[in-house]
């Protein structure tokens, strides 16, 4: 029962993060909203894993957390450097 409550309680947070990603208005609002949404996805996978008694969902949740982190870094690097094609020091 506890995990069902946790799963339902996660959804309003997901809706709020989605609303921020849609509304914007700045780039950083959207990047942070996507990162937060990824975190909620990781949490939801873990909660669902415990709810349906599939403990290997924890490993999948950890891999998702890594993908989420790398994706956020890539987007932010894109805004710092402008493209992905060149080393950062050659832009100076």
């Amino acid at each position: 029962m506890m995990f069902e409550v946790a799963a339902v309680a996660l959804f309003p947070a997901m809706f709020l993060a989605l609303a921020r990603a849609i509304a914007g208005p700045t780039v950083y609002d959207r990047v942070l909203a996507v990162n937060t949404f990824g975190t909620f996805t990781v949490l939801m996978i873990a909660v669902l894993g415990f709810m349906t008694d599939q403990k290997d969902f924890i490993d999948i949740a950890l891999a998702y957390a890594l993908i989420n982190f790398i994706g956020t870094i890539a987007v932010l690097k894109f805004f710092a450097v402008g493209d992905f094609g060149y080393q950062q020091e050659s832009k100076k």
Binding site: A21, I22, A63, G71, V75, F84, G85, S90
Partner: protein, 180 residues
């Protein structure tokens, strides 16, 4: 209970997709497709397709977001508003959708045990793969052993495509004209 979670998750996916279509700021639309990929990865996981879910999370939320941002760097960030309504594309999409729906009409019912896909080799995999291969997950044993050569070929194709894209984008090469 799980029906409620499924419903809320699918509602979130629908909201994200419609919002990504409506946004005129293309960067916001790219971010929303990232969210959509995360949601569909979660959805695949709920449907017990962990391998598809991993692919969706890595390719959909990771690589394709980065590729679309790279495209945005070469083009404009705001969407060009079409000057006249596009009747022909709508027509083509509607016809294609109708044909696809028509194609599903003579498919066997969902979870029908007499469906051809469940009577050919699937019973063998379900009953024997544990002792033949020794991997607890049936999907993994099919991917990595029963059709191992096919998976090796797939991996080679993806590796070659990856090298080609890296060469085309010039990642790792320094810009010569900046250095004096």
């Amino acid at each position: 209970m799980s029906t409620l979670i499924d419903l809320i998750l699918l509602t979130l996916m629908a909201i994200t997709a419609i919002a990504a279509l409506q946004l005129k700021d293309l960067f916001g639309a790219v971010m929303l497709t990232g969210i959509y990929s995360l949601l569909s990865a979660l959805w695949f996981l709920i449907l017990d397709a962990a391998d598809v879910s991993f692919t969706e999370a890595a390719v959909g939320a990771g690589i394709s977001t980065v590729l679309m941002l790279g495209t945005l760097a070469l083009t404009r960030r705001d969407e060009k508003i079409p000057s006249h309504p596009r009747i022909l594309p709508l027509f083509v999409v509607a016809i294609t959708g109708a044909i696809l729906v028509y194609g599903t009409l003579d498919m066997p019912a969902f979870a029908d045990p007499e469906a051809p896909i469940h009577t050919h080799v699937a019973p063998h995999y379900i009953e024997k793969s544990g002792e033949e291969i020794g991997v607890p997950n049936i999907v993994t044993s099919v991917l990595a052993s029963y059709r191992g050569y096919d998976t090796l070929g797939e991996t080679t194709v993806i590796f070659t495509a990856c090298i080609g894209v890296l060469l085309l984008l010039g990642i790792g090469r320094r810009r010569e004209d900046d250095e004096s």
